[in-house]
Amino acid sequence: MAARSHDGRGDDGQGHASDAPFPARPPDAAPTSDTAPAAPASGKSGGALALLALLPVALLVALISLFVVYGDELLGPAPVPPDALGKLDIERLWFRPEGVAVQVVNTGPAPLTVAQVIVNDALWEFAIEPGPAIPRLGRATIGIAYPWLEGEPVTVKVLTANGLAFLKTVPIAATTPEPSSSLLLLFALLGVLVGVLPVYLGLLWFPLVRRLDRAVLDFLLALTAGLLIFLGVDAVVEALELAGRVPSPFRGIGLVAIGVAGSILVLLGVSRRTIDAAAGRSEAERALALSFLISTGIGLHNFGEGLAIGAAYAVGELALGAFLVVGFTLHNITEGFGILTPIARHGTTLKNLLLLGLAAGGPTILGTWLGGFAYSDLWATLFLAIGAGAVFQVVYELARLTTSKGGSRIATPLGAAGVLTGMLLMYLTGLFVA
């Protein structure tokens, strides 16, 4: 597999050169060619290639320059001054004992200047860093000594010099957690409770799973695939939902596509190296490699889950229910189980089991930290998409594993029942999260 794909890439490289619309000769081909009237010096040929590469760029630069100089004449006066279309996104609000901090990003077509800040229908004095003038895609942080009230809504309205108003309402104001050792620990504990412990609890089924016969194991493998498909779809939906909140110039939907495709492709590369490298060796090593892949994929997914929990805590929503934690915990015990199924028939060391659990559960902790202290819709969207891609890639590996000998074992009544059972299991345990 690996060798073929390398060859393929090589062919592609050659193909592009010979398909070129210009009769330029690839420099590497010169020595063997006897039809060429004279083998051009490689330096000269390199220069010609460079010229060919740069010509369109140079023309593009010329075109853009022309447009910059004469574009106004071509288009005439703008029907609306560009700053009238200005857009400022209020990305984040921090609530501190001394007041409110507001992070804004200029997502409009022109620079904007912040002139006044209105909090809950009152003009307030404010400080702004790095300054009131915000270039396109620039950010600034506004500090207001507003005596906000715990648990009450806060609406911040930013007025620009040209009179535009941009506002954001936080329905329930709560002190924004500051990174402190105790809070880091609390978030880590949450991560352990929600992500790490359930995965390890699931791994405790290992001795049981080892004693199951092949048909049951195949069912469980299919069930794992079902769990993962559900997780993947769930993550894509969440990522798309968040993508809508990402400031428009950053194109949230595009980020989702990049995240999903990127993680699938990267993990495919990794799996080729691990699984196919182990191909020559025992089937047990291949199975272990697959288990690690599954736990990595689940780990990426749990990272997104951690983000959600951390962010919820940061905006004071986690206080609404320990229910959420219980739900996630229940939900995640199934993940530990999923990691086990490939290695069930071969057995493994305790150390490997510990590592598998860590890879799957550990990222939850990182997620809670990031979500709690540095949440942004943009990063959350990207991470959720990466998690989704990872999970889908693992499903693909599982399908490959079960088709290694004597055809697919998922495309059987038992396998189909397994997939559906897995999805239903996720659906039911997921009810506790909603």
């Binding site: 002139a115 209105i118 003009l123 007025l159």
Partner: protein, 299 residues
């Protein structure tokens, strides 16, 4: 009778043909507070006093809160426009020129012929119209543009105050003109800021100096658009309230007055104690969005 006439050839729309009263453009709220425009005064053959004014409708960018610019339509460059001051029975003549890209008028409150009412004789861009009437009766009046959509033409800033003094003058006093208004800077049908005389929080940062015991007279009018009412509340004091300024007797004694859109009142008071005293809208929201100021009463 006056006709809507096209400005003479060579007159560039937007540029005044006749200079407005000196210094009216871009007046600060503190200047509007005490600047009374008595016009160019002369005697008519019958002995009647003639006061001539030139009003030019302009498109003016004004600062309505620190750093916030508003593309206003103004009479002579400021919001509110000049305070016309005359005495009952005077002949008032206003040469109105429209230097903007939209039709406008001047609709004055008070008693006058229909053709002087600024409703039917719309003045297109680059045209002029002359309003002429006898000041009648005495009192405090607003004036404003009456072109449709009226809400837009008022909201943009085309309004001001006209004081018609009684034939027997009021007692001399420290006189102040206050026009309560608001500005919808993001054009969403709601005011972003509220002001007196055009700049939010201006008299917060520039307190008005008064003297203990001296009579103070405030000519207060409400030209706030979007919000049906506005109000004035005085701290540490009570004032005599003369609604519409059409009487000098039987005042109401109070410390808060509520005025509807276009309504006005004359307020008289003296401070008993020195110190800083606040005045503001008693709608807390308006107050905190800029309609708030101080009297700095000196001993």
């Amino acid at each position: 009778m006056a006709h809507v006439t096209e400005l003479a050839p060579g007159v560039v729309p937007g540029l005044p043909r006749q200079a407005p009263a000196p210094g009216w453009a871009a007046r600060a709220p503190a200047e509007i507070l005490t600047a009374f425009d008595y016009g160019r005064v002369s005697q008519l053959p019958g002995g009647q006093t003639l006061r001539e004014y030139t009003f030019i409708a302009q498109e003016t960018e004004i600062e309505v809160a620190k750093g916030v610019m508003f593309p206003a339509w103004t009479y002579n460059g400021s919001v509110p426009g000049p305070t016309i001051r005359c005495t009952e029975g005077d002949r008032v003549r206003i040469y109105f020129q429209n230097g903007t890209r939209h039709p406008h008028t001047i609709h004055l409150h008070g008693v006058h012929p229909a053709s002087m009412d600024g409703v039917f004789e719309q003045v297109p861009p680059g045209h002029s119209y002359t309003y002429e009437f006898d000041a009648d009766p005495w009192g405090l009046f607003p004036y404003h543009c009456h072109t449709m959509p009226i809400r837009k033409h008022i909201e943009k800033g085309l309004y001001g105050t006209m004081i018609v003094d009684p034939p027997t003058p009021r007692e001399p006093a420290h006189e102040l003109v206050m026009v309560m208004n608001g500005f919808d800077t993001d054009v969403d049908g709601e005011n972003e800021v509220y002001t007196v005389n055009g700049v939010a929080n201006y008299f917060n940062e520039h307190p008005i100096e008064l003297k203990v015991g001296a009579l103070v007279r405030v000519y207060l009018s409400n030209m706030t658009e979007f919000d049906p009412i506005n109000s004035f509340h005085l701290h540490g004091n009570m004032f005599k309230l003369y609604r519409s300024g059409t009487s000098t007797t039987n005042p109401e004694l109070t410390d808060t007055v509520m005025l509807c859109q276009g309504e006005r009142a004359v307020l008289e008071f003296r401070y008993k104690y020195p110190g800083k005293f606040m005045f503001h809208a008693h709608q807390s929201e308006f107050a905190e969005l800029g309609w708030m100021g101080f009297f700095d009463v000196k001993a």
